[in-house]
Symmetry: C2
Amino acid sequence: MSNYYLRPAALTLIVLVLGCTNQSDTDLGATVARKVILIIGDGMDDQQITIARNYLVGSQGQLSMDTMPFRGAVQVQAVAEDDPSKPVYVADSANSATTMAGGVLTSRGRVGTTAQTDEDIVTIMELASAAGMGTGIVTTASITDATPASFIAHINQRYCQRSIDMVRMNETFPQFSTDCSRDYKANGGRGSISEQIAASQVNIILGGGADHFNDFIEGSFEITVLEAARSNGFEVIWNRSELTKLPNNKKIMGLFSPGTMPVKYRGVDGGEARLIAREAGQVKWPEPFICEANPDFENLPTLAEMARVALDHLDNHAGFMLMIESASIDKESHYRRPCGHIGELSQLNDAVRIALDYGESHPETLILVTADHGSAAHIISQTSSLAPQNYATPGHFARVLTPEGSIMGINYASNDSPLWDEHSGVQVPIFASGPGANDLPTFIRQADIFKISASHLGLLDTGLRK
Amino acid sequence: MSNYYLRPAALTLIVLVLGCTNQSDTDLGATVARKVILIIGDGMDDQQITIARNYLVGSQGQLSMDTMPFRGAVQVQAVAEDDPSKPVYVADSANSATTMAGGVLTSRGRVGTTAQTDEDIVTIMELASAAGMGTGIVTTASITDATPASFIAHINQRYCQRSIDMVRMNETFPQFSTDCSRDYKANGGRGSISEQIAASQVNIILGGGADHFNDFIEGSFEITVLEAARSNGFEVIWNRSELTKLPNNKKIMGLFSPGTMPVKYRGVDGGEARLIAREAGQVKWPEPFICEANPDFENLPTLAEMARVALDHLDNHAGFMLMIESASIDKESHYRRPCGHIGELSQLNDAVRIALDYGESHPETLILVTADHGSAAHIISQTSSLAPQNYATPGHFARVLTPEGSIMGINYASNDSPLWDEHSGVQVPIFASGPGANDLPTFIRQADIFKISASHLGLLDTGLRK
């Protein structure tokens, strides 16, 4: 265990950990390794699940997550940076992942740090590492993106992925009130997110984001972040083929694309949501389109393949914490591309299948599937039910022709930006299987996901279970 | 049992019923009365629940439904009128209530009849009556509105509430492809919805819609629909005070307002969602508002009071089927009035409390709480996260100041009609408590709600339970 974790806040929690490891709140003995697989569909609210189900398996089909024995709802949690006693009803991926990873509420944009006071929040990955368990992160985003970062790193601004971003951000995004300069290593901080990941104890981390590891370590003109990761024991891999021959005794960092990994599907002929056109005052409904394979996706590892490799790599540990993120449900919804988020949810669903299969043969495994926040996509009629009066959505609209031969109307109307739609503050689903899953409360908050995971791993006694 | 029910389709099902009544799929003996309370929040999707929770009990609180031991998701079901083999992804209250009441899919606008073939669909209320059980309907809508009507009546168009509507509809709403003329009594049909309710066997029916009972029965110039109801054994009541002294040996029809019952809350100073204004190109965010009591609601019975009276009235039957609808979650969302749907969900939540209390002392009661379809209301940031670039929703937007001191942004942007927003095709939640609740699958379809209810009442053996 490196000194990295031995900050005062972490120490307090680790003492708690040691006091709890023998406790058993399930019927599994203390000698059995405890395992948690937390699968996060970024932006995967009930709209997204319904859209994907309708397209992928039809209105009579069911997804893998639909077969899980427990389903509940999770209140998304964020607080105001200028007054953390006040709730903010719409979250982003950074603050919500921080809360799921560490059990503490924070403000939007923050990664593993508290609102206003900017203190580090110890994450479940750090607790698991400290207790000698395995830890893993799998994502279709850059591994430095908000969700994976919040399980490992501590910084006040999610966009500070590289040390150069810590300067550049204030010029590029003046609307973000925080800057990252206090986290410069030169100022006694931990550095950028990529530098923190390179210095981390995570056993396996797979995803995109190779571009974030080329810079020199802050203050150095000789050592890149990638070289620092290697010095810290990471075997770095770049291709799907390398996934089949991982050294079991090394930490693994897989970087399979320069940034976010390309998604599985795209709309045929560039099909995506557009503003409604009118001709002579009459609504001109957009042409329906179907989804097709995205050629950029072809040679990449799938989320399910990465999940399986991570499980294999962690299987020999005395318990583990694995977080698997399907990142582009949210990103493609921002970009108003229905086939993008449908294909990404299909990837998540395949990863759920891998996790459930693992759970079958490893019944000590608690599997949680949830989302970090809602997104803008909204199923409405394929033409307005008021169409004779010639009304249509004022937002971006797509008509997707499903394999069962019907047209599904998808609306994105949270703002009038030509580029980007926003999140929703809706509660999100949680699915669970494994020990204690059926005893979970049917309504929880995001901080409870930390408590449930930590409790299952024997890292914390929370009394949350009924 | 009147001949009313003895149409061939109904007969087949009734034979099944008699074959099943001794069957026990729970641990309750056959001698114990079986009871189902089905509570439908019209339009109550996860957005609506989150909006109401944030306002009513705060982001750290929980609603009564949040305490129920089972939570699942329900796929909303509709099919195309011109090709019933094709799914339609956005439902209305008529077709979805028909499917929950009768277990058969149909097209939008239809009440208790099949798509295209226009055959009557036997409802759970009719099955329960035929088996000698009590039946009840409580709603904040007109009792002739789509949801209550679909549990009792059979007609091809929900808007044919009075016999005069059966003519008028084709002139007023040419966009609806069906007309009701084939359901004229003169044409061998059952007549309008109000006439069918007046002729029904339901033991207690409470709500609004007095205006729909003043007309003469079709073909008569002497007998009003109300008089026909009285001739059929209904005691008709008009005021909250009359609810306290109901004759136990009569059928009860309560008509507490001319149409839809007024809602509990309204926005202070006329606060509701409006289109975003811009001044000199800059977004002018609307003033936040709070909710206040609606004076029109003051002397009306609450949904919870009506629910309690209905339970008292049905308690002496050998089992019962009671449907309780909170209708204006949807209606107020159509009108883009956040305080309207928040107050209505508060009413539903109080009715859930009454049902749960009844279930405590009558453990043979299965309580189901669900929605018929999603609605347009969507929580987004109170200002755009892209605000410095001056983007805002293109829809109608409200900023609601919650009791916990934060501002919740609510967006309605499914179309650009100045009057009315639309439904969403999102899956909806289901909550359950009582015998077998924890054994329900976590993902079902609307037709399953009929099967679950009928199975619990011993009216049908479906094998749906796990």
